[in-house]
């Protein structure tokens, strides 16, 4: 990539009414990604289409777009490109993510700062292509950072922030940025596409020809990677290093969010969690993804009715914001945790609510937690239903008793009942 080519391609700040998937493509463009490899899958397809359009029309000079035959090859080629020392991007969803699962580990265990958008969809069978975060959460233990976003603008912003965090030499891990299929991906909203110069200033410089500090392809400095480690070798220690980097990423996420706010004027809480009317709330609800946006309105309406309710939007699932969760649970009297995902056989059946409970063990926090599961497979969750969820929590606070219709301790909200 030549310097002069880069100069030709300066985009001023502009607001565009775009679909969520197009905002994703614009984020990759603004981040000046050098290699894209992708395979289409609903509801991610329009990300790929838009990126290939950008690459083909010359709007992304210096970007290589690789066409491959499957998601497994997508991640394999992205891993190769990243090892060679480039900023890389891809997007996938549901079954496609599962098909690349083996290579997902190659990315994280090679400590490559790859950013991948996940347009989350339900897991088959039965086939389902609508919003449900079980796909990205199924990659919980892969060593990838993962975040959920709630708005169109946040998709664009979070992808930029992700490159900043992932490429930090103290982190060097890949990251998923997940948003609900169709609800964000195929609806249109105004999105600010930031000034290219400002984005360049915010992000770390693109890797030079020497590549990353820990892995590179250079005939002058030959190295072998992907070797075998015997049980007596440092295998366990390298796993510990991934965990340590992940835990330290929490601070970097906070710094990236703070700097983003300073530069672009948009705030996402502390980066890990974003609170809404939580300071004086007796009843709190934790929620993530696109459902969080509508929950703000539900909170407003219950506040109008005189209930002291508040909400926290969970932005990062990995690293899990342990300290924030503890502080929030301590500040409220009852806490509900809404999952639009499943974790079969876990303590609550919901992945995030199980983690919240785990984060509070061995502390003096005794706040009751109500796990809620709703909106699976893209099922519409209306404003009224979200208000019902809040009211169930209010009732729990007033009476001190759990709701009656729990199943294995969890409120499966909005179940169909045919009369």
């Amino acid at each position: 990539m030549t310097e002069s080519k880069q100069k030709d391609f300066i985009q001023p700040r502009q607001t565009k009414v775009v679909k969520g998937n197009v905002a994703t493509a614009y984020a990759a463009k603004s981040a000046r990604v050098q290699v894209i490899s992708a395979y289409p899958i609903t509801p991610q397809t329009t990300v790929v289409e838009k990126l290939s359009e950008f690459a083909d029309s010359g709007m992304m000079p210096g970007t290589q777009y690789i066409k491959v035959e499957s998601e497994h090859s997508v991640m394999a080629s992205i891993v190769g490109a990243s090892i060679a020392g480039t900023r890389t991007f891809t997007a996938t969803a549901g079954q496609g993510l599962f098909y690349m699962y083996e290579m997902i580990h190659w990315a994280s265990s090679s400590r490559l700062p790859i950013v991948t958008a996940i347009v989350s969809r339900g897991v088959a069978p039965p086939w389902n292509i609508w919003a449900d975060f079980t796909d990205v959460i199924a990659c919980r233990d892969t060593g990838w950072l993962s975040s959920f976003v709630a708005t169109h603008q946040e998709i664009y912003d979070e992808i930029l922030m992700s490159y900043k965090v992932c490429e930090d030499f103290d982190v060097l891990l890949p990251k998923f940025v997940a948003y609900g299929g169709f609800i964000l991906s195929h609806t249109s909203k105004p999105v600010i596409i930031e000034d290219q110069d400002l984005v360049d200033e915010y992000l770390p410089p693109l890797p030079d020809e020497k590549g990353w500090p820990h892995i590179f392809i250079d005939p002058e400095r030959p190295m072998m990677h992907g070797n075998l480690i015997m049980p007596s070798g440092f295998y366990s220690e390298f796993r510990l290093k991934i965990h340590d980097a992940m835990m330290r990423a929490a601070e970097k996420i906070k710094e990236a969010a703070k700097e983003f706010e300073k530069m672009f004027g948009r705030s996402y809480g502390n980066g890990l969690v974003q609170k809404y009317h939580l300071d004086d709330a007796d009843v709190g609800i934790m929620i993530y993804g696109d459902l969080a946006l509508q929950m703000e309105q539900a909170v407003d309406e219950l506040r109008d009715e005189g209930y002291k309710v508040g909400m926290v939007k969970l932005r990062h699932f990995r690293p899990f914001p342990i300290e924030d969760v503890q502080e929030i649970a301590k500040s409220v009297r009852v806490l509900g945790v809404v999952d639009r995902a499943t974790a079969f056989g876990s303590p609550t059946g919901g992945p995030v609510s199980s983690e919240v409970k785990a984060a509070l063990y061995n502390t003096d926090i005794k706040t009751p937690i109500l796990p809620i599961i709703s909106g699976l497979g893209g099922r519409e969750v209306s404003l009224e239903e979200q208000k019902d969820q809040l009211k169930a929590l209010v009732k729990m606070y007033e009476t001190g008793e759990l709701p009656e219709d729990l199943i294995h301790g969890t409120l499966w909200h909005g179940k169909l009942e045919v009369k």
Binding site: S109, H214, M224, F234, K241, D244
Partner: protein, 121 residues
Amino acid sequence: MSESESKSESEKWKDINKSKEERPKVQEYKNWKELPPIPISFAIDASIGRTGDWRTFRPIILEGCNKCGICWMYCPEGIIKKNEEGEFEIDYVFCKGCGICAKECPTDNIKMVRESDIEDD
């Protein structure tokens, strides 16, 4: 955060990023904090041992060699070298004695001799 002291992690591993001349020949680390982010290996001679030790039969190039180079092409270990006079020599430090060169030699000028029958060295 978890452990604040882990921030002062050893930077020694960053030497792997230097040129081939400047970087250490062998990486040595004491504990997990000193380790680089991922395990990597450098190419060094005989890193997995002197494979010539495995040999039972030694290939010997005889006088009548016509320097055609077929043994050099077929050697799976790449240890047959051409010297300045254009003659072929076998590196016995790494030759495993597989015998492919002897089998392929069109003029039958490579002889396989049992190691125990060789008196010198």
